[in-house]
């Protein structure tokens, strides 16, 4: 066990955990940030996507010891009021069915738009293909990412 100081959503958190604990479980079990979801644990589904220094990463395979002083953003930190353009687009398009995969989808989409504010349909597909939605909201995910890109302009 060791104590880790983590920069998450603009705040400093402390967690007393083993070095190999995935960031996902530190967020959920230790810090009460449960918006980041567990789906597979092996970097296959994207439900656990968060940003580390702006990059989308799979927190289920990202050991807490690798975070260091990097800045982590989770779904809870995307915006104060839930009004980030990507969140607004997700509401407007009414994307979610069960909703379980959607935090990961939103984080993946946001990382894409931060780097590439004007993605082509193909670029959207390439990024979002990494996130599974078992309910099959894929059409709306495509639509919402495109709408969010428009809103950010």
């Amino acid at each position: 066990m060791a104590t880790y100081k983590l920069q998450i959503n603009g705040r400093t958190y402390e967690a007393d955990v083993e070095a190999d604990t995935p960031l996902l479980w530190v967020l959920r079990d230790n810090l009460g940030l449960v918006g980041t979801k567990y789906g597979c644990g092996i970097a296959q589904c994207g439900a656990c996507t968060v940003h580390v220094n702006g990059d989308a990463v799979r927190s289920c395979v990202y050991p807490v010891s690798a975070v260091g002083t990097s800045k982590v953003t989770t779904i809870e930190g995307l915006s104060e009021m839930g009004d980030h353009p990507v969140q607004l687009a997700w509401d407007e398009v009414d994307v979610a069915q069960c909703g379980y995969c959607q935090a990961g989808q939103i984080m993946a989409a946001t990382a894409l738009l931060n780097k590439n504010p004007n993605p082509t349909a193909e670029e959207i597909d390439n990024t979002m293909n990494g996130n599974i939605c078992r309910c099959g909201t894929y059409h709306r995910i495509r639509e919402a990412v495109a709408l969010a890109a428009k809103k950010t302009k």
Partner: protein, 714 residues
């Protein structure tokens, strides 16, 4: 205005206003409640002690609160049910608040999610609830304004006196309305006056979902709660022999390792710690039943298809004679594999078994059954068990089984502590209760003119009881018909999977009918329409589907897809009636780089009236993606009783890039809603297989398509 057909008994109970005022209306989810209900006092409400069936509350600030009793798993019930209440109430939708109700079978009836049955079950009850409250508000306004109630109208949360232009909001009338006697009968709107029903309304939980609020079972973290994972036998047919937990127990954060039934549970202080410690268990198993492999299943299916020991499900005419005189006989077999449900949120449940009662919380499609089973297992009065319903991260039928609820409760009773039991994705994929594999043999007899004069289906299933639906189309349309089934009892655990039985059966039937139409030299749509005409003019035996509704969706699909009119586009057709609704689909396929690619799907649906267009649209698209994804890519196979696949790296689910464009249409026939959670899925596999045939000349008689040799040689 249409009046209710049945004079209703007193199904509504007015609950007296609380100290702060407002109208509270208890309404029953059943129309057969015999006992009259009484008005209860506000102290009872304040103490939360009211025994009513459900409630709708209108507070002086105009907020309408509606309790939603059914588990929400993405079927959008938490939005669509309140829409129905709000429609009859003429409420301002922006002021409607929906609250998930806990399990309470005294208050709610049919508090489960499954079988696409919730909407048809509750439709009239929900409408009456809204109409009753509206009636009381209008009466209250009439008193206040001293005008006849008949001179008042309602809109958007207001009672309006057109003649004088005066308006009163529901909020300001709420307390007075609570003093109006509850009507025993109310008029419902004429559906053509619906303003909210049939429109696209956003999910009421959107904000919570997109901001990451705790909504799901896995998000439960309670005071003093421990975490647990269970090691179950790695193969079906194995049982626990011995456990060496020394190493696991010595690991950090581990509180205990306990054994019950065939389970070895590791209990600790965090998810990751129990996950790691579980890997350090040394467990020996021994065989207690046959360890079946997929190769065994293939052999068993082939044997059973020729077994003399079958159950006859339906028999019309003389099949032997028809096949003897046939000009042409077509015979084909279809097979589908085992499938796990793979909801994105794996199984989990919280349980706290105390001396004086049990607290349960988590995702289940059948809270009442789960509670009953826990009560029985622990030998405790069900009244002493509370069950908090969380939003479900998908269900697909998996959470109709309560195995994981029982595990959590039993574990908590042993360790005497509150505990959250977590299944990993691997547990979820390998832990059973699958959609069982199935094989079908179809035979059709054609006369010289290409009319189908004989039809035979034998379905061999596993733990399925009856893997056929003997009264579905084409039954009733063929003079000589025989439907039989055989079942193999397997130690692999199985259970319902979204659109039980029909999920595979519809694919096989619709693909086979395409083969028959082709052999008969007929257009696949025309072939089906001829059969339906025959069923209409000279029905054979009992017909349990509505011929006109089926024709309605066929016509709509033909129109929207431009069936048969598009040059250079390979189309496949399919139509199916299941779970009370009708869906016809057309698939379009192109061959790209030597592989068939599904480029577009059309769906024409008759699910009666559409309540929420946004939810309904997505339900159909999601059903098609589910049906197509599993038909194309998914398979769970076994070696010596153990699944070969365990997670999304080796068990394939459809992803975004593989999804075709989907064009959804609804038949608008004013029929009361008949449900949509399942019916869009069954026809998809057939539409896809038939389109692939059209594009490539290859018949796909086994799922998943991607593995079939036929596709590799395109």
């Amino acid at each position: 205005m249409s009046s209710l057909s049945k004079p209703s008994r007193r199904n509504f109970m007015k609950l007296a206003a609380t100290a702060s005022g407002g109208l509270f209306l208890g309404f029953s989810w059943t129309s057969s409640v015999a006992s009259a209900m009484e008005v209860v006092s506000d102290t009872a409400i304040a103490a939360g002690k009211i025994e009513f069936n459900s409630f709708l509350a209108l507070s002086p600030d105009g907020i309408v609160t509606i309790l939603s009793p059914n588990p929400e798993l993405g079927q959008n019930i938490k939005t669509s049910f309140p829409m129905v209440v709000a429609e009859e109430l003429d409420a301002d939708w922006t002021k409607v608040k929906v609250v998930q109700a806990p399990l309470d079978t005294k208050k709610f009836e049919r508090q489960l999610t499954g079988g696409s049955g919730a909407v048809p079950h509750s439709w009239e009850r929900l409408r009456k609830a809204g109409a009753t409250a509206r009636y009381m508000l209008v009466e209250a306004a009439a008193k206040r304004l001293k005008v006849p109630a008949s001179s008042l109208t309602t809109e958007n949360g207001m009672v309006v006196h057109q003649a004088s232009g005066r308006k009163l909001s529901y909020g300001e009338l709420a307390t007075e309305a609570s003093k109006i006697p509850v009507p025993t009968d109310v008029k419902l709107k004429d559906p053509k006056d619906f303003k909210l029903i049939g429109t696209a309304v956003r999910n009421v939980d959107n904000h919570e979902m997109i901001t990451g609020k705790p909504l799901y079972g896995l998000d439960i973290y309670k005071e003093g709660m421990l975490f647990a994972m269970i090691q179950r036998p790695k193969a079906f047919g194995m049982k626990l022999k011995s456990v060496d937990a020394a190493a696991a127990k010595a690991m950090p954060g581990i509180v205990d390792v306990v054994t019950f039934k065939n389970n070895v549970a590791v209990v600790g202080k965090s998810t990751w710690q129990v996950n790691k410690a579980r890997k350090a268990l040394k467990i020996e198993y021994e065989k207690e039943a046959t360890l079946e492999s997929s190769a065994d299943h293939d052999r068993i299916f082939k044997e059973l298809l020729d077994s003399p020991d079958v159950t006859v499900r339906r028999k019309d005419g003389d099949v032997d004679a028809a096949f003897k005189k046939a000009a042409k006989v077509i015979k084909s077999e279809y097979q589908c594999p085992f499938l796990p449900h793979s909801p994105m949120e794996p199984m989990n449940f919280f349980a706290h078994v105390r001396e004086d009662g049990v607290e349960l919380a988590g995702p289940t499609q059948t809270p009442e059954m789960a509670r009953g089973m826990v009560a029985k297992m622990l030998n405790i009065d069900p009244e002493k068990i509370t069950l908090e319903l969380t939003r479900l991260g998908g269900g697909f039928g998996r959470r109709l089984s309560a195995d994981y609820v029982l595990e959590a409760a039993e574990l908590s009773s042993i360790i005497k502590a509150p505990v959250k039991l977590i299944w990993t994705r691997e547990d979820d994929t390998t832990g059973g209760t699958y959609r069982p594999a199935v094989r079908y043999r179809f035979e059709a007899a054609l006369d010289e003119k290409g009319n189908m004069i004989g039809y035979k289906l034998r379905g061999v299933g596993m733990n399925a009881g009856n893997p056929t639906r003997e009264d579905n189309f084409p039954s009733g349309a063929v003079d000589n018909l025989l439907i039989e089934s055989v079942d193999h009892k397997s130690p692999i655990t199985t259970g319902p999977w979204r659109a039980p039985i029909t999920n595979f059966l519809a694919y096989a039937e619709q693909a086979f009918l395409d083969e028959v139409a082709h052999e008969a030299g007929k257009d696949p749509v025309q072939f089906r329409l001829e059969l339906l005409d025959k069923a209409k003019k000279s029905p054979v035996g009992e017909i349990k589907y509505d011929i006109d509704r089926m024709k309605g969706v066929i016509d709509l699909a033909v129109e929207k897809s431009g069936w048969g009119k598009k040059k250079g586009v390979a189309q496949g057709f399919s139509v199916y009636f299941s779970h009370r609704s009708y869906v016809a689909q057309v698939g379009e396929v192109e061959v790209k780089n030597g592989a068939p690619v599904v480029t577009k799907m059309y769906a024409a649906c008759d699910c009666g009236m559409v309540i929420n267009l946004s939810g309904a649209n997505q339900q159909v698209k999601g059903g098609i993606i589910d049906g197509m994804g599993h038909a194309m890519y998914s398979k769970l196979s076994f070696k010596d009783g153990a699944p070969d696949q365990s997670n999304f790296n080796n068990y394939r689910l459809i992803r975004l890039k593989e999804v075709p464009e989907v064009d959804v249409h609804f038949v608008n026939n004013g029929i009361d809603p008949t449900g949509l959670g399942e019916p869009a899925l069954p026809p998809t596999g057939g539409a896809v297989a038939n389109a692939i045939f059209k594009a490539t000349g290859k018949r796909l008689r086994n799922q998943p398509f991607i593995e079939q040799a036929e596709l590799k040689t395109v």
